[in-house]
């Protein structure tokens, strides 16, 4: 078995004086997906935000390739692609402008990859449309195209299937499988089945250990 790229040890998080999760530990190797499950308020989003560094954890360490990410947070942020509850899109910019902006924000240029990302989520025909004119599902597809475009090794996804119709869900699964096949990692908070075989599962309703696939 490949050595883990990401090792999370003893991660705890408090919000408003409440312990959201306590001493969570898990490890992910190349090509692995971790599905976070649990009821509303169980801490899935808080865990994703703690992993991203958006919410400082109360305790615990996050290690990437043997190095504590707290020592070099900028490099760590460069390794992440983030999809939150909110799409992170500007309504007055077009689909294309939003994607180009996001990629430049990461220090890269979309270049030739832009067309591929748009194509992956059937957005070519919408690329010149302002985001505020799109449906919720189309906006979610745009945000997912941003994730694909990033080429980040670790995807942090909060309810990625929200508002997606069946073809868009299939497109997401194809993109996720391609990412994992290329050695990428993904952690996704979800209420729905992601439909990816071999995914690890972390149930935040009570357990703190990762259930490995059979």
């Amino acid at each position: 078995m490949a050595p883990p790229l990401l090792e999370v040890t003893g991660l705890s998080c408090r919000r408003g004086g409440r312990l959201v999760f306590d001493r969570l530990s898990f490890a992910l190797s190349e090509g692995e997906l971790l599905a976070l499950t649990g009821r509303n308020g169980s801490g899935k989003t808080s865990l994703l935000r703690a992993l991203a560094g958006l919410t400082p954890p109360h305790a615990g360490t996050i290690v990437w390739q043997g190095a504590d990410v707290a020592q070099d947070p900028e490099t760590w942020r460069g390794r992440l692609a983030w999809l939150g509850h909110l799409e992170g899109l500007k309504g007055d910019l077009t689909v294309m402008e939003n994607l180009v902006f996001a990629e430049r924000l990461r220090g890269g240029e979309a270049g030739d990859r832009l067309e591929g990302a748009l194509l992956a989520f059937d957005l070519l025909g919408l690329s010149a449309r302002e985001v505020r004119t799109l449906s919720a599902g189309q906006r979610r597809r745009t945000a997912l195209a941003r994730i694909v475009l990033s080429q980040a090794p670790l995807w942090l996804l909060d309810e990625p299937l929200n508002a997606l119709d069946a073809p868009a869900q299939a497109a997401f699964r194809t993109a996720l499988q391609a990412h994992l096949a290329a050695g990428g990692l993904a952690i996704a908070a979800t209420h729905a089945e992601l439909g990816i075989g071999g995914a690890q599962r972390l149930d935040l309703r009570g357990g703190t250990s990762v259930e490995r696939p059979a």
């Binding site: 935000r49 909110l86 992170g88």
Partner: protein, 221 residues
Amino acid sequence: MSGFATVLMRDLRLVWRRPGDVGVVLAFFVVATVLFPLGVGPETNVLARIAAGVLWCAALFAALLSLERLFAADHEDGTLDLLLLAPWPLELAALAKCLAHWIVTGLPLSLLAPVLGIAFGLDGRSLLALGATLLVGTPTLSLIGGLAAALTLGARKSGALLALLALPLCVPTLIFGAGAIETLAAGDGIVTHVAILAALALVALATTPWAIAAALRQAGE
């Protein structure tokens, strides 16, 4: 393109797409300023004496109008998370957003103020001095206002809180900005006043981006 330039160009493009937002600020500045001659009366001596204070106060209030949305819009649509997760210092993003705010409010206000100063009976030298002091002083308003906007992000009645936080911190800039025109009327130069305004702007430039970034990180939690 650097992250700083990316954020700056994006914010300018957003303003270009919705010019009404800036139009409201400039319209407020014009209306608020024009009301004074109507209320005070047509005596040129009185108007010329209060002109600098009126125009500086109106510019300050106009700049504050648009500051509430400086970070709130990014917070509401989730793009603040993208800024927080960018692999370069958040301080630069904060600075880029304040610069964008100055370009679309401080700069036009500085250019518009001398035109409105004519209605107050200011002479040519005073009009130039007014434009110059606003040009040097308004960046401080954008930076301090940006800090207040970041600190009040997500708070209820954030607009009122923002004004309460920013206005006292802008008092030195207001005093030296308006004072320059009075000094000129008394026959002295304004170099000292402009130098102090520039120093205040530099202090704001050196301190506020870090404070804004810290406040944004706190809001992002």
